[in-house]
């Protein structure tokens, strides 16, 4: 958890390697068996050229970063807005970075407005977005 919540504070990065095995595990856990994720011969014939990770798998890594930074404040009252820019493929290594852009105060409650990005090993943007986390002002 962050010891000090202040503007400009960067979160600890999360780095994850995508494999077809992880994608298959995610499909099994979530029940999302869309063939674009799990059927290599089907996916090879699409414009994507092969299987891709579920967008929600990449977003789970973003949530992991936010949970490490804000703990239960994120889990119980977080807000997120994400755009999936490019698909993540098996073999990709994703790095998720984020920071607090600004802090807004409303009565006794503060809101950390954060931004994040998830890039692959080539530096290509996979997911980008913003989050908002409510916290009590005494943590500031």
């Amino acid at each position: 958890m962050l010891t000090e919540i202040q503007e400009g504070k960067a979160f600890d990065s999360v780095v994850k390697h995508i494999t077809q095995e992880k994608i298959n595990l995610y499909a099994e856990a979530s029940g999302d068996f869309n063939p674009i994720h799990i059927d290599e011969s089907f996916a090879a014939k699409t414009p994507l050229g092969g299987t891709i990770a579920h967008g929600m798998l990449s977003l789970a890594y973003v949530s992991e970063m936010m949970t490490s930074a804000f703990g239960r404040n994120w889990l119980s009252e977080g807000k997120l807005r994400a755009k999936f820019k490019e698909p993540a493929h098996p073999g990709d290594t994703l790095t998720i970075n984020g920071k607090i852009d600004c802090i807004e105060q409303e009565d006794d409650v503060s809101y950390a407005n954060c931004s994040f990005e998830c890039r692959n090993q080539k530096g290509e943007m996979i997911v980008t977005g913003e989050t908002i986390v409510k916290f009590s002002s005494d943590k500031k």
Partner: protein, 131 residues
């Protein structure tokens, strides 16, 4: 359950899919945590709940032939933490349907409630359907 009776053309703004119910069992959470390569903290990760909702959504959309569904964007708001073993009910509705050339976009509204009818999370998902 997936609503196979409706066709893609009939999916219009205001359409509500039949609600889906999930039991967030210990085995489900363990599988999810293994898949996302993460450690648990005794509660259901909120994105695991969203994963169920998105899976229900993609299963429910009656896709035109030879179409793939791509998750283009996601908005989420969490309202409460959910203990392992809880049962949730997911409600999905069509907010907007946009067709531009060979691209179709469905904007869906998602709401998840627990057994006590308290809202757990809500959000919007944009699904792109290149035809």
């Amino acid at each position: 359950m997936p609503d196979r009776a409706i066709s893609y053309e009939e999916l219009t703004p205001g359409y509500k899919f039949p609600p889906t119910t999930y039991e967030l069992s210990d085995s489900f959470v363990s599988k999810y945590l293994k898949a996302v390569d993460s450690e648990g903290d005794g509660f259901v990760p909120p994105l695991a709940i969203t994963a169920c909702t998105i899976a229900a959504t993609t299963k429910s959309i009656p896709l035109p032939p030879d179409t793939i569904a791509i998750h283009a964007s996601q908005e989420l708001e969490f309202f409460k933490m959910v203990p392992i073993g809880a049962t949730i009910e997911c409600y999905i509705g069509v907010l907007q349907k946009i067709t531009r050339g060979k691209m179709s976009m469905l904007i869906l509204e998602l709401e998840v409630f627990d057994k006590g009818k308290e809202k757990v999370q809500s959000g919007r998902a944009t699904i792109a359907l290149p035809t």
